[in-house]
Assembly symmetry: C2
Homo-oligomer: 294 residues x 2
């Protein structure tokens, strides 16, 4: 479909945000980020959105990844099954027209705990493709719905999603603890105390400690409660996941703030946390898909 020119546009199009990349010879030469996520759009809005992106970044082929390919996005690109490689993604693109395609998500059909991802697969596989993580590794992508992926031979072998970030947002916005959770979250003492408590894997009881400490005026939980709750949730997530895996090292794909929080919780479990650049991983993954179809 595509000429010898190695330039194309890639869009990581999520629920609330999107990030557009102009990629030339495997490098992002221009990047835009805005809040035109799929929840702000109807299916009929996409052709004009795509045209506008081409107006800004160039009249080039476009690869789209993320929730844009879901039932709440533009078109539903059916999941491919784990184990999933970049080659499998490339051969299962949903083509909108000859210059526009959507990368499918990946599903893990476990009998007890089936799982799905959409958008994260490009980053995960790209991290290995770029040499940022080895081809056999445990990777984590913190966020609203945190993904933990086991990579085997460079493919996504299995994965688990934990709604750790969503629980934090629910508690901070709507719970009886919300009024106590206005402090900024960093990887300090309150966070670490939460991590230790989170290792009990007893969230419903540990959360009430925030309230009882406040009522009784018991230090140190009368302040830094958001940091404590963040530590509690991330600690419980990390503890449950490392119990499932014997990986000594975990690669963390996240922005610096969230990456530091997960790295702290992983170290508390005696693991080595290696932080890697999630945007670089995305660019490497989507470029590989692009080259496989060019």
């Amino acid at each position: 479909m595509i000429g010898a020119d190695d330039r194309f546009i890639a869009v990581d199009w999520g629920t609330t945000n999107r990030r557009c990349y102009l990629i030339d010879q495997g490098r992002a030469v221009k990047t835009e980020r805005d809040d035109t996520g799929v929840k702000a759009l109807l299916p009929q809005d996409y052709p004009a959105q795509i045209a506008a992106i081409r107006d800004r970044l160039g009249d080039l082929p476009i690869l789209l990844a993320g929730m844009v390919g879901s039932t709440v996005g533009w078109r539903d690109a059916p999941y491919i099954d784990a184990p999933a490689s970049l080659a499998a993604l490339a051969s299962s693109l949903l083509w909108i027209d000859a210059r526009t395609a959507i990368v499918p998500g990946v599903c893990f059909r476990d009998d007890d705990r089936p799982d799905v991802m959409r958008g994260e697969e490009v980053q995960l596989l790209g991290a290995v493709e770029a040499g940022l993580a080895p081809s056999n590794a445990l990777l984590v992508q913190p966020g609203t719905h945190c993904k933990w992926a086991v990579m085997k031979n460079g493919a996504i072998a299995s994965f688990r999603t934990a709604i750790t970030g969503e629980l934090f947002a629910l508690l901070g916005e709507h719970s009886l603890l919300a009024s106590q959770m206005s402090d900024p979250v960093d990887a300090g003492d309150a966070f670490s105390r939460g991590v230790m408590e989170g290792r009990r894997r007893d969230l419903a009881a540990s959360l009430f400690v925030v309230r009882s400490s406040s009522v009784l005026g018991t230090a140190p939980l009368t302040k830094n409660c958001a940091a404590y709750v963040s530590g509690l949730l991330i600690g419980a997530d990390v503890t449950a996941r490392v119990a499932e895996h014997d990986a000594r090292t975990v690669h963390v794909l996240a922005d610096p703030r969230l990456g530091a929080l997960y790295a702290t919780a992983l170290r508390a479990e005696g693991r080595i946390a290696i932080r890697i650049d999630s945007h670089g991983a995305f660019v490497a993954g989507v470029t590989k898909i692009w080259r496989l179809i060019s």
Copy 2:
């Protein structure tokens, strides 16, 4: 303060509801329930509320229990420390006037996980007083903030609060799973499946199974999701608590619906669940306090 007449009024005054009892010789001869909880009132509203209760139920002494004695109620009745008995509550009443008193709450000053209760102490101690539970027992009061209390020699020795009911409400009202959680919750198959999953003590990951099952159309989680989530939360609560206690039997103080759910989860852990009448327990507890001060 009080004459030989054995009649008095007791009010179990919570955050969102209150229940008023006219008690004559230890028996509730008249009961009213309404939604005039403390969050609907300001401190200055209480004298008129008390006068109105006396207008309806009789010009009698009144004992108040619950959040009415908190910083968000009428007056703050300081907590007494566990271990706490009915005699200790009776000797620590906060007197508003010679015919009106507030029963204090109980606190448990554990270094790691301090805890507080207000209102539940009368039911817990009353259950033992009425012979509904033995004087050494593990009792549970399911609800928004579920209380688990260890009774020793008829006193509350220690207790733990889990915000199990609050988490269920948050998920059902505000989470990404909310739209799937419209089914009525009963102790059927979906609930039991949730209980089994809850035993993993991995809430953030187990909750995403609701979403991934729906996306993939994997039975049986495409329906009865509220029942599953309820089972998940109650199962995690029960599993964590029985790991702390070796009690073979657990006494459940709850309405029939919630009592059936906790009993089901307790049986899944191999425990014997004995359901007891929480209103009867409250009347027995508050009557004992009344007689101790009469």
